[in-house]
Amino acid sequence: MAKAAKIEVEDGNIVASLQGFFKALLEDGEINALLVPQHLPMKNTVMPTLVTDPEKLNGTDPLAPAFPLNAAKVVSKLTRKPVNGKVAVVLRPCEIRAFIELVKLKQGSMEEVVLVGVDCLGAYSNIHYSRFVGEDSADSTLSFCQNFLEGKGTAFEEFDVSSACKACEYPVPENADLLIGLLGVDINDHLLVKANTPKGTELLDSLGLPATGEPKERKKAIDDLVAERIKYRDQMFKETSEATSNLEKLNFYLADCVNCYNCRVACPVCYCRECVFVTDVFDHEPSQYLRWAEQKGIIKMPTDTVFYHLTRLAHISTACIGCGQCSNACPNNVPVMELFRTIASGTQKAFEYEPGRSLEDEPPLSVFREEEFSELTGGKD
C-alpha cells in the first residue's frame, strides 16, 4: 500500500525544499550516492550529477524545465555491472520508463537503484532553455512551476515546452519507488512524497517526514493534464500520419536528414554498442552507388537516410517512450519525435505493449505466441 508524506515548503520555494529533501536523503537514507540534475556552477546548464557529499547539492533542481539528455542511459552506465553501493536516481517519468526498457534488455539493473520520480511539467528544448533560464536559475524554475500550476501555461516569449512534452500522457512517475508530487498539491505548503514499493517505503521511513494523504484534488489535476496532452498527441498523430502517408511524402518529411545519427545517440532505448549503420554492413562498394544512380538517373546523397529511420523504427519503435530527445538532438529540425511516436503508437498497440510500464512485460520480440497475427501469417491457411 502506498505510503505518503510531506516535504514542507517555506516561502513558496519548492526548489529549496527539494534540495533539503535530497540532502536528508543522502545523509539519513541508506544510500551511497544520489544521481540528480543540478545547475552546473560555471553555467546555468542543468545536467545529471552523481553526488556522494550532501554538501554538494546546492544546484539541485529536478524541476527545471531543462532536459539536456535522457538520463536513462546514464543510469544504465551506472548499473550495467555491480556498482557496489546503493544509488538513488532522480528522474523524469520518461527517463524511468526508458530505464525500465533498458533493464529488460539487460543494459542495466534495478538491484542497487532506488528510483525517485518527480511529477513532470515538461521541458524546453536545449536551445530554448538556455534562453529561458537567463542568469537566474532557481527563480526561473520557480516561476515555471508557479505558472504551470496556476494554469498560466508554459509558453515563454515565442516558444513553449517541446512537443514531446506536450504530447506526453505520462506526467506522473507511478512506477518510481519514491514519487514526488506537485500536481494537485498545495505547493506553497508542501510537496507530496509517496512510496510505491517496499524499497521506497524503507527509504521514506528513514527520513521521518510528517505523514499525509494524497490530496483529493490531485487525481483531477492529473486527469485533466493527461486529457489535454492526449488531445494534443492525437492531433499530432493525425497530422504526422497524413504527412507520411506514402513513400514520396515520407521522403519529403525526412528530406533534411544528413545521417548525422544524433537522434540515435540521443535516443535512450537505442542501446546498441555500435549502430548497424556505422558497421561494415553499410560500407557499400563504391561501384554500388554508381549502379544505384544508373537505375534511376539520380539518387540523393548520402543514401540510406530514409532506410536509417525505417530501420530505427523497426528496431525500437515498440520500446519508444516518447521522450523526444531525438528531435531535441536534430541539427536540422527534422520532426523525428512526431514520426516515431506516431509509428510507435501503432506497433505498441499491435503487440499490446506499453514500454516502461513494468519489468514484468516482456519485449514483443522475446515473446512467441503461436496464434498471434494469423491474418498476416496465414495461421489458418
Partner: protein, 1132 residues
Amino acid sequence: MKRIINYHVHPVILSKKGRYMKKKIGSCLVVGAGISGIRSALDLAELGYQVTLIDKEPNLGGTLMQLDYQFPSDHCGMCKMLPLVERDKASQYCLRKGVFHENIDIMLSTELVALDGEPGKFQVTLRQKSRFVDPERCIGCGECSRVCPVEVPDGFNAGLTLRKAIYLPVPHNIPNTYTVDVTSCTQCGECEKICPSGAIDFGVEARSRFRILVVDDELVVRDSLKEWLEDDGFHVEMAESGTEALDMLAKDSFHLMLLDIKMPGVDGVEVLKRAKDLYPELTVVMMTAYATVETAVEAMKIGAHDYVMKPFAPDTPVPVVAQLYQDILRTGERLMDVGAVILSAGFDSFQPDEDNNIFGYGVSPNVVTSIEFERIISGTGPNQGKILRPGDGKEVRKIAWLQCVGSRDMQEDADFCSSVCCMFAIKEALLAKERSDNQADATIFYMDMRTFGKDFQRYRDRAEKDYGVRFVRCRVHTVSPADEEGNLKIVYVDQSGETHEEIFDLVVLSTGQRPPVGTEKLAEMCGVELNPWGFCKLQDFSLSRTSREGILVSGSFSGLCDISDSVIQASSASLWASRLIHSKGGGLAEETETKEAQFRDVGSEPPQVFLALCTCGGTIGEAVDLNALTESFKNTESVAEVQVIERICTQEGWDDLQEAMRNSNANRVLIAACNPYVYAKKVRELGERIGLNPSLIDVVDIWTPAFPGRDLNGNQLTREISATVAMGIARLKGMDPCPIPTARIIQKALVVGGGIAGMTAALSIAHHGFDVTLVEQAEELGGNLHYLYRTLEGYSPQELLEDAVLKVEDHPNINVYKNTKVIGSEGQVGRFVTAVERADGSVETLEHGVTVLATGGQEAKTAEYAYGESGAILTQHELEKGLQDGTLDPTKFRTVAMIQCVGSREEPRNYCSRVCCSSTLKNSLYMKEKNPDLQVCVFYRDMMSYGFIETYYTKARNAGREITIPADVLVLGTGIVPGNYKELADQFGVDFNEDGFFQEAESKWRPVDFIKEGIFMCGIAHSPRSITESIASAEASAQRALRILNNERLAAGSIVAEVRHSLCVLCERCIAACPYHARRYDKAEDKIVVDELMCQGCGSCAAVCLNSASVLRGYRDQQVFEVIDAALEGLG
C-alpha cells in the same frame, strides 16, 4: 579417386580441416516409406549404416501424404524428423516433398520379392517396376498428362477427383516426375509423342525382341493372335501341339507362352508342368474356354501366370501381353545383402462397401471415409479446401462422424480397436468447424472416446467446450437416404434409451485398420508370424521385434498407431536392427580409411564466378536467347566464365560441367538450372572433386520461370532469368567459406532412473559398446515393475525384471549407482558434466555426451470414494498385490466393484493414464478365472482398450458382469502421476508440462527428445504407458542418444549462427529468440556463446539482433543487400 586436385598456378594452402567422415559397416533394408519407414531409415542413416528404403508406391510418405493436418497443432511438422546434427548429410526442407540423405538409397515402385540367408546377412531381392518415364529427363511440364485420353479416379484424392493414366502421384514432390499407371494405361503412345524432353519410352521398339510362343491346336486362334500381336510389334512363333511347343522351347528361348488347355495329345496342363520344370523363368498364360476355367485356375497353382478366356477379341489378350512385357522385360531386379530388414509396410483401410455396407458407402456420394474427408478439407484436394459435398457441391453444414467402422465389430471379424480414429475424427471435426467459420455442425457418434495419449483428453475437451463439437455416445446401425437431395438420415438411441432421428449433409465413416494387401506373402517370405487379425505378431514386451531375429517392424504394420507411437516404434526397430548388425560384427566399427576432403583456400582471392547455364533440354534455349544472356553475364563484375551446358541434371551434363571446371580458375561456381534441392549431394561431391568448398557452389532455379503455363514472353523471361542469376552471383560473391564447425563428443551416457525404461535405455546403449552410468535413487533397480505380477497378455513382469537387472548389473559397460541422486548438471550436447551424490554422501562428477531421463512415475494417491476409510477399498496396484500374495482371495468374493478414472480426465489431472483400463481388465479376468461366479462391475467413462487390448475387453464382457451393489471390494483406478521433476528439470535445463510430465520437443515428430539436444526421455516420465510401451520408448531414446555417441566429433551444419562479439551488447534477445536452446550467456567469458551443434541455422537470432552482432553464416547482411540489389537491378 583423386583426392586433392590443385588447379591453381599460385601456391595453394589446403584447408587442414575438411569434412569429418566416417562410414559404418553394415546395411539395412526398410520396406515401406511411410512415416515409420522414413524414421527408421533416417535413424540408421544417422548411425552411419547404409539404408535401402523401398516402397511399392511411386511416391514416399505413405498415408501421411494425404493428411495435411495433424493434431494437436492442426498443422504438419514432419520436417521435425530431419537430422539435427550432421545436418548437411541430409536435405533440409519439407519432408513431405522428399527425403535425401547420403546414406539412404530410395527405390520407389519397388517390392521385396525374396529373402534368404540369416539374421545379420540376409540376401534380398528387390523388384522395381518401370515407370516408363526417365526421371532424369522428365521436366515435369505436364504435357503428357494433358494429352492422355485415359481418366481414372485419383488415389491421392481418395478417388474424389480424376487423374490421367500418366500423372503426378503426389502434387508436391521434389523432383516431381510423372509416372505411368500401368494398369489403366492403354499405351496409346500419345504422351510419348508429345514429351518435349523424350523422357517417356514405352519400349515399343524393343517389343520385337520379346519372343512369344502361341500354342493352340486351332489354326484360327493361332493366326489371329499372331496377327494382333505382331501388329503391336511383338515377335510371335506358333506351335500346333504340346509336343511341338516343347520342341520349340528346347531350341529357342521365349519370354512368354500363350498356351491352350484343351489340346489333343499332350494337353496344356501337361505342357505347363514340363515347361516350368525345364524353364522356370518362362511366363505362361493359359487360354481357356468357359468349360475349363477350373482347370485354368488349377494351372495357376502349378505356375501359370494368368489365364484368358476364349473366344476373345483383340482387346483381351493384347493388353495382357503388353502388361506382361512390361513386367517381364522392363522390371529391374536388384540383389543385395543386408544385415537386417525393417518392415514398415503400413496398413490398409477397411472398405466400408464390403459385406453388409450398412452405411450405404458408395451408394450415397455423401457418405465418405475419414481419408476422403481429409482430402476434402485439403488445399490440394478436390475443392481447394472448401468443404463441399461430393454429391452436389453444396456447402456442408451438418456433418456426422461414425466411429468404429470396421473396428470393434465382431461381425466384421474385427475384435480390435484401430486406436487412431477417435483423435482423427476429433481433429477432422475441429478442422470442419474452423474451415467453415463455425458454420458447420459437427457430431461424433462413438462408443468410447479413446483419448488415451498424452494431452489427448484436453484436446477432446477443447473440441467440445471451445468449438462446440457434439459427442454422442451411441453406435449408429444404419444410415439411410433422407430425401432426393442426397441428405442422410441417422437414427440413434441415446444413453437414456430414447430414439432420435437426425438429418445430416455429410456422413464420415471412421474406417478402421486392415493388414495391407500382400501381408501374408511378405510374412511368409520373411518367415515371421502374424497375429489372429493378420497383422505382424510381436514378441513379448516388444513393439518392434517379430518372431524372427533380424526382421523388425515399425509403425502400423503391427497394428495401427498414431504418429508419435509410430515414430517411437520406428526408432525401437532401428535400434534393434543396429544391435543385431553390431552383434554380428558389422556394428558401428569405424572404417579404417577416413576420407578428409581438402579445399583450396580462396579467402584472399577476389571472387571469380564460373557460371553454368543449363538448357533444360531445350526448354530454356527455346524460350530465351542463351547467347545474348551468356554475353551479358560475361560482362558482369566478378564473373570469370560462362558456359552453356546441356542438361546438367544428367550424368553427361554433369561430366561436361566438371570438365569445364577443370580448366577454370574460378573460385565460385553458380549452376543455373532447375530444382536446387536435388543438387545438394552433387554439389558436395563436385566440391570435393575440384577442391572447392561446397559453400562456394550454389544452384539457382532458372527453369521455373520458363515453366509452361506461365506464358512469359521472351523479354520478361530474360529479365527474370537475369535477375535470378544476378542474385545467385551476388550471394556467392559474399560467401565467406569457413570450415564447418565440429565438436568433440564424450562418448559416454548418463541414464537417470533405474526402472524398466532406464535399464532398457542403458542396455541398448551399452550393447553398442559405449559406457553408461545408470543412476537410481532407490536401493534397488526395477521401479514400478516390483508391483506388477502379470500383464493382460499373460507375460511375466517379474521375469522381465529379474532378467533386466541381471543383464544391467553384469554388463561390463554399465556402472550402476544405486541410492544416488543427481545434484546438478551443466553443459551441452556431447559435453555434459553432472554431479551426483552417492549413498555415503560423497559427490562424484560424471562427464557424458548424452543424458537419458527415465525417472518414472507412480500410482496416484486419492482421497476420493472414501479411500483409506475401509480395508475393502483398494487401488488397482493394491488389488494386484493382494491377489499375488494371497491376502485377497477372489473365491471369497461375490461382487467386486471397480471405478475408473478416479481423479483423472478432469482438471487438474486432466489426462488419461492409459494403463488403468488394462489393469482393470487384467485383474477382472484373473479373478473371474479363479472364481467364475464372481460378479465384477466396472464403472467407467470410456474404456481405453485400444489396439488389440480390445479383445480382452470383449472377453471380459463375455465373462459377464452385472450391476449389483453393495460390493465386497471396491477397487479404484487412480491413474499415474509423474515424479516431482521440477528440480531435475532445472538441473538439466529442460521443461515439463502442466501435468508434471516431461515436455518433449514435439509431441508427434520428436516424442523422446527434449528441445535441448542431447537429452532424451523415456518411460512414464514422458507420459503414462504400459511396460511394453515404456520399453519401446527407452529403445527409441537410446537410438536418439546413439546417433550422437556414435561420433568422436560431430559436425554442425554449414549454415550456423555466429556472434560478432565486438558489436554485441549482451542484451540476450537472441537467447530468448532461439528455438533450439543453442545460445547462452557465458558469465565467465562475458559473452554470448552459440552451441554450433544445437544451432539449426534458422536465423531467428539474426532477425532479433538490432546491429547484426548475431549473424547467420551464408546470410550476412551485406550479402543479402547485394542479393536484393541484384534482384532489383535485374528486374529494372
